[in-house]
Amino acid sequence: MSTLPLSPNPLRTPAKPSVINTLRRQAMNHVITGLSILSTVVVIAPLVAILVYLIYKGASSLNLAFFTHIPAPVGEQGGGMANSIVGSGIILFLASLMGIPIGISAGVYLAEFGRGSFLGNAIRFTADVLNGVPSIVMGISIYSLIVMQQKHFSALAGGIALAIMMVPTITRTTEEMLATVPHAIREAALGLGVPKWRTVLSVSLRTASPGIITGCMLAFARVAGETAPLLFTAFGNQFWSFKLNEPIAALPLQIYVYAISPYDEWHRLAWAGSLVLIVMIMVAVTLVRIFANRGVLKGAS
């Protein structure tokens, strides 16, 4: 048997790199960097455009009355959205109060206990389907399940509709964030004689908390602007209401009502309301971030 001649390794670097190769590599590097920057700009541009346009259209209608008065009757000047701002706050608080604990608990079950089990797979599938359910369908469902039974619209029904919309996002993010917690850290806790439930609460969840908080914020920001599920549940209200079993005002609903009205004054208020809604979401998300980052130690990964 004759020995085969060794073929030269095509990947081996020649002793001296050729100028053309070097230039080509550098050019490619610049092209890819440029494309990344371009994509970032394309992603951010609409966001900035929306914000700038909202400020341009809405800022001039903002005044103290906007934040302290309830809507004025048709034909009268002035009036504000104070009741809608408070109403949105109440509905979102209710939704978070129900949606966040349920969403996180389900995520913990999926990641720590139900891996590969039939129930786990069923929950995961349901969550993914629920994530794709159009918000108007959610509104109608809650309308028939709760509003029809109670025979009146209510803040509570609105809160439940938004809570159900929050759950799948939070569940899936929690599950994915827990999956990134290294197994070695869980073993460290179990090896110290820490019971499993305590390991999940104090080690796994704590290590994954920044990601889970991001998931909750995403879910919150998403439902904060929802109009459709509130149309048949919270319904809206032109007056103050703090009762959970009565129709309540909400910013997206008020914006909707004003935007489709024939009055210029109301159009301007709708713009102002949109601006306030966006700014409120931004402030809420930032506050949670600042709060969550407190107490993070030096060198913590």
Partner: protein, 252 residues
């Protein structure tokens, strides 16, 4: 004080793989016992059976009797109780990344609901001193995350964390394999000092390390324990041909 461990007819499985076959062994109290053998021979599975970490894997199973003193660890106690009495140090340092150095060391007590500040402070200081880390970290115990230390310091912190719950047995699964020679020699010094108070079982790939720290050595091969004797005998005059081949580097 440490306590001796008696292992009788221990068998262990991962799924259908028979990882440990009929292990019989006596680990004497207050001594260091080394386990050597090629990768995949069952050393790690064996130490994980000693603190019932083996069964945290849903497909794992074990039969046989392991007695710690008079206590049958599979019959007389829950896994959680056993793990408090049998501490474990893992191959790679695994600090809790969100916790400070202090909280890492105190975690075994704190996560089990222990809250007395004075005793926690004392325990953290004692454990860090035992692990020869106190001088290096005492100034930023509560300021720095456990993950901000160097690899060798992290591993000594993990040893301190295991010692803080005051175990009787300390299992070390290749505790120095991810560390540089300086950190390794610190850990070995530590084992030397700790064995007066604890029963130590150390898995190692480094035969010099076994010779340096352990009075007794067991040689594992393909899920069986081939030979167990005093370290001196294993390394100078092994009874089994396979042991001799392994320690002289002829295979494995």
């Amino acid at each position: 004080m440490g306590v001796g461990i008696q292992v009788e007819n221990l068998n262990a499985w991962y799924g259908t793989t028979h990882t440990l076959q009929d292990i019989n062994l006596h680990i004497p109290a207050n001594h260091a016992t080394a386990l050597i053998g090629p990768s995949g021979c069952g050393k790690s599975t064996f130490v994980r059976c000693l603190n019932r970490m083996h069964e945290t894997n849903p497909i794992a199973r074990a039969t046989g009797v392991i007695k710690m003193g008079e206590l049958d660890i599979y019959k007389d106690a829950s896994p959680v109780e056993i793990r408090r009495r049998v501490g474990m140090v893992f191959q790679r340092p695994n600090p809790f990344p969100t916790m400070s150095i202090y909280d890492n060391v105190a975690s075994g007590l704190k996560l089990n609901g222990f809250r007395n500040r004075r005793i926690l402070d004392e325990t953290v200081e004692r454990s860090l001193k035992q692990a020869a880390l106190w001088e290096e970290v005492k100034d930023d115990l509560k300021k720095k995350s456990g993950a901000s230390l160097s690899g060798g310091q992290q591993q000594r912190m993990c040893i301190a964390r295991a010692l803080a719950v005051d175990p009787e047995v300390l299992l070390m699964d290749e505790p120095a394999s991810a560390l540089d020679p300086v950190s390794t020699s610190k850990i070995e010094d530590l084992i030397f000092q700790l064995k007066s108070q604890y029963t130590i079982v150390i898995v190692t790939h480094n035969m010099q390390q076994a010779a340096r720290v352990a009075e007794n050595t067991g040689f594992f091969l393909n899920g069986k324990m081939v030979e167990f004797d005093s370290t001196h005998k294993i390394f100078t005059n092994p009874k089994d041909k396979r042991t001799e081949d392994y320690i002289t580097g002829r295979f494995g």
